[in-house]
């Protein structure tokens, strides 16, 4: 009887471990493939990988992904500058007026935003920004990304604030602080969780492709420094180049995928460190 239980326990542990490894397999496969194909491509292109636009299709040379890097830089900067403060305020509002009817409505709205395919966000921005302004721009893409990151960051911020014990809130209110000041104190206490939310938003903004399809304009050869002109983005370049028949562009796509993977992994590792250090 006793032995059977031990056997069962071991079998279960084994099954769970195997399934766990299986779940991790795609991640390792991605990292492995992207590294094995991306690193040689970057080495072949040399430093120009980071400084030049792509070479013409079918050419012997690779060129680089400089316009995409520049575009992604602008996208990350503008979308976080727009999206994070707004999301922070939404998170504060949801925390502060938790039970109010408006907060419930906003929560339902942000949750549905979380579920909407991001390509629809791209189409929305196409209709309300790109068409009225008369053309694609990096800034329009950044607006789409800001909308995409909003629910993630807001939810994270709200949860971080919620995790602060109620006694601190009462202490702040008990000192005669207004509700606004009180929630800023709570945000200060939960600052690591809030920061984690910001990083999630940043990682989202860096990696999303679909919202950019109808917004930034895939201006792949332009090193125009203005974010109000059409531009490119790293994930967009990966998506479009990998589907071409040109060997040099496919190599560029793998190199760009490697850059993207490293960036996103760095953000997530930073996130783990931040979250682990949460202490009250």
């Amino acid at each position: 009887m006793y032995k059977r239980r031990i056997m069962k326990d071991r079998l279960f542990t084994l099954a769970v471990s195997v399934l766990g490894l299986l779940a991790l397999a795609p991640l390792f496969h991605i990292i492995y493939t992207v590294t094995v194909r991306g690193v040689p491509a970057i080495l072949e292109a040399g430093p120009s990988f980071f400084t030049e636009p792509p070479a013409p299709p079918g050419s012997e040379r690779l060129g680089g992904i400089a316009p995409a890097l520049l575009g992604s830089f602008w996208l990350a900067l503008i979308s976080t500058m727009l999206g994070i403060p707004l999301a922070f305020l939404v998170g504060l509002f949801l925390y502060e007026f938790k039970e109010s009817r408006l907060a419930r409505l906003v929560r339902v709205f942000t949750m549905s935003l979380l579920e909407i395919p991001t390509i629809l966000v791209g189409m929305l921005v196409y209709t309300i920004v790109v068409i009225p302004l008369g053309g694609f721009s990096v800034a329009a893409g950044a607006i789409a990304l800001a909308i995409v990151m909003l629910p993630y960051v807001a939810t994270y911020v709200e949860r971080a604030l919620d995790s602060v014990p109620a006694t601190y809130r009462e202490a702040a209110l008990g000192l005669g602080l207004s509700r606004a000041r009180t929630s800023l104190i709570i945000a200060g206490i939960a600052r690591r969780g809030v920061l984690a939310g910001f990083l999630i938003g940043f990682a989202k903004a860096i990696g999303e492709t679909a919202p950019l399809l109808f917004t930034v304009g895939s201006a792949r050869n332009s090193l125009n420094p203005s974010p109000f002109e059409p531009g490119d983005a790293v994930p967009l370049l990966v998506f479009q180049f990998i589907a071409t028949p040109y060997e040099n562009w496919i190599k560029l796509a793998w190199g760009a995928a490697f850059v993207l993977t490293v960036t996103v992994l760095t953000v997530f590792i930073a996130l783990r460190v931040v979250v682990r250090e949460v202490r009250l």
């Binding site: 014990p165 000192l175 009250l280």
Partner: protein, 261 residues
């Protein structure tokens, strides 16, 4: 409507009149009348769930942040109804210390104490603020232990020191009324003694009106001038400490003081 009360003149007597408080339909306080005098310590006692914390949190209107709250009756502070005052102003005069030590972990010792005076604009200069911080820490019997490390974070302090820091943070407002909700429940005897001395000092030297919720009859006997006993939302006994301890009028008080309920 809140009237334009902008200032109260200490000392402030607290008068609780026929106070009824419901939380989500459940009646917690069932008509309590009681007053607390300046310069005296009033101990509020009673078994768990008798409404002690609710009573304190109604005095500074923190209760209003609880879901489904209904308040009837009145709390009069220095002659003015608390419910006719701006609650943020009210809390400048009626400060509170809680059961769990709760100094803000992301602010330094100095900034914790300075927060209240800064928000309410009580100091005109850095020097004046320094003096308020020092005064509050001295009154909370913590100054000697932290004067050389005011820029440390509270996590470096012991639990008892953190509770005295919470007390100092409340005192920095120079509140004429001080509410304490079982401030020594989680604190060791040495720190408890310091906190008790601080409380007595405030009542005697500053004329502060002190209301303290406590579970230990010994503590009430040590520091209070008056004892009020709540039982199931009603005031069953209220009088000078000696009388209540030596000759409790009510059976419930007797049982409570003996530790039977």
């Amino acid at each position: 409507m809140e009237k334009a009360v902008t200032e109260l003149k200490p000392p402030l007597e607290v008068q609780i009149r026929e106070l009824r408080v419901k939380l989500e339909g459940r009646e917690i306080l069932k008509g309590v009348s009681l007053s607390a005098k300046p310069g005296a310590v009033t101990a509020v006692m009673g078994p768990s769930g008798s409404g002690k914390s609710t009573l304190l949190k109604t005095i500074n209107r923190l209760i209003e942040y609880y879901p489904g709250v209904e308040v009837e009756g009145d709390v009069v502070v220095g002659g003015v109804s608390a419910f006719e005052m701006d609650p943020y102003l009210l809390r400048r005069y009626v400060a509170m210390v809680f059961q769990t030590p709760n100094p803000f972990p992301h602010l330094t010792i100095y900034d914790n104490v300075a927060l209240g005076p800064r928000i309410h604009g009580l100091a005109k200069s850095k020097k004046e603020l320094d003096e308020i911080v020092r005064w509050a820490l001295e009154k909370a019997m913590l100054w000697d232990e932290v004067k050389d490390r005011l820029n440390d974070y509270p996590s470096k302090l012991s639990g008892g020191q953190q509770q005295r820091l919470s007390l100092a943070r409340a005192l920095a407002l120079r509140p004429p009324v001080l509410l304490l909700d079982e401030p020594t429940a989680n604190i060791d005897p040495v720190n408890t003694k310091k906190i008790e001395e601080a409380i007595i000092g405030l009542a005697r030297e500053e004329g502060t009106t002190v209301l303290i919720v406590t579970h230990t009859p010994q503590q009430a006997a040590r520091i209070s001038d008056y004892i009020a006993v709540l039982y199931e939302g009603r005031l069953v006994e209220w009088g000078p400490t000696k009388e209540v301890v030596l000759r409790p009028r009510h059976e419930i008080t007797r049982a409570y003081l003996k530790g039977e309920i």
